[in-house]
């Protein structure tokens, strides 16, 4: 009397890798199949390769089974390895193409700040603002009406004008 487990029996019978190189499955193909991606022209050969080799089939099964686990671990690792603000600034500064210019600007700003702090009395005077007269002095004096209406023009020059 024989008790047979078909799965175990078939996996035992297909332990060896397939002789045909065409149905050998690469690791990248294994992972793509696990993600549910189509392998295009290779799909049929690869699926036959899984049917013919328990080792290849097991690789795909474990890839399918560990997919969400790997995603969770990758997410946690990304959080763990996220750089701090200081590290990010340092990386950015190293990556910048003009660090000497930044340095020169920083030194210049420091020099100006030091000068302003050291000599507060020599600050720039306020800009001169023109002061308007309270009234118009040009014609502010009383106008001599008598002179303006004088009929004798000669008197203007004390009568010394010989017209």
């Amino acid at each position: 009397m024989a008790t047979l487990n078909l799965n175990a029996l078939y996996r035992d019978a297909t332990r060896a890798l397939p002789q045909d190189a065409d149905v050998r499955v690469t690791t990248d193909e294994t992972l793509a199949l696990a993600r549910g991606e189509s392998l295009g022209a290779r799909q049929e050969a690869v699926v036959h390769g899984l049917a013919a080799s328990s080792e290849q089939a097991q690789a795909v099964r474990i890839a399918i089974a560990t997919q969400s686990w790997a995603e969770d671990l990758a997410a946690d690792l990304a959080v763990l390895r996220r750089p701090t603000l200081a590290e990010r600034v340092a990386v950015w500064f190293r990556a910048a193409t003009l660090p000497p210019v930044f340095a020169a600007c920083a030194i210049s700003l420091l020099a100006v700040a030091a000068w302003r702090i050291g000599e507060p009395g020599t600050t720039m005077p306020d800009a001169t603002v023109p002061q308007w007269a309270a009234d118009d002095r040009l014609f502010g004096a009383d106008f001599d009406e008598a002179v303006a209406r004088h009929d004798n023009a000669d008197e203007l020059f004390d009568g010394g004008f010989d017209s």
């Binding site: 047979l4 089939a57 690792l77």
Partner: protein, 177 residues
């Protein structure tokens, strides 16, 4: 950072061990503890040696898959060696064998018969049955073969029933699947 990484890998390692236990049973000569530890060490070394390494999910999976495949191959070598040695030096209990020696002779014959019966199945049922026997679910078979899930279920079911019937005719009284 190193301590945090170690703690993180240990935490996730427990879940990985369970998955390996489920999908690569000890009857295949694999030790989930060994595989989990090997994966953890590989990831640790890779992450410590390259601080800028972005450990994407696909990279992590690749590490797991290659580790499992290596372990399967090592188990096969041990298995083959244990068969060679058993007549000369007796059975070594430290060697994990996927198959008890007393059962091996009969199983070899049944394996050949099973392969022959699978070869006699109608072509449209053959591939789904083979994939089902490799442990894929009907959903996975459907996705891989391009069939609908219902069609994959029926092809697998009818194909396996046909196999059982044929093997019973050949003398198998009790068949598990």
């Amino acid at each position: 950072m190193s301590d945090a990484l170690k703690a993180l890998l240990e935490k996730h390692g427990k879940r990985l061990r369970v998955l390996i236990e489920l999908h690569c049973g000890r009857d295949q000569g694999l030790d989930p503890d060994d595989i989990e530890q090997e994966v953890r060490i590989k990831l640790w070394k890779a992450l410590e040696s390259d601080k800028n390494l972005i450990a994407a999910a696909s990279y992590i999976q690749k590490v797991v898959v290659t580790t499992v495949v290596d372990a399967v191959r090592r188990a096969q070598v041990r298995h083959a060696e244990s068969i060679e040695d058993k007549d000369e030096a007796g059975f070594d209990p430290s060697v994990s064998s996927p198959l008890r020696p007393e059962a091996q002779a009969g199983r070899g014959q049944w394996s050949e018969l099973l392969l022959r019966c699978i070869g006699e199945l109608p072509e449209r049922r053959r591939l789904p049955v083979q994939l089902a026997l490799q442990g894929f679910t009907a959903d996975e078979v459907a996705r891989m073969t391009g069939a609908s899930v219902t069609a994959a279920q029926q092809l697998c079911y009818r194909g396996i029933e046909e196999l059982k019937a044929r093997l019973r005719e050949l003398g198998a009284d009790d068949i598990e699947d």
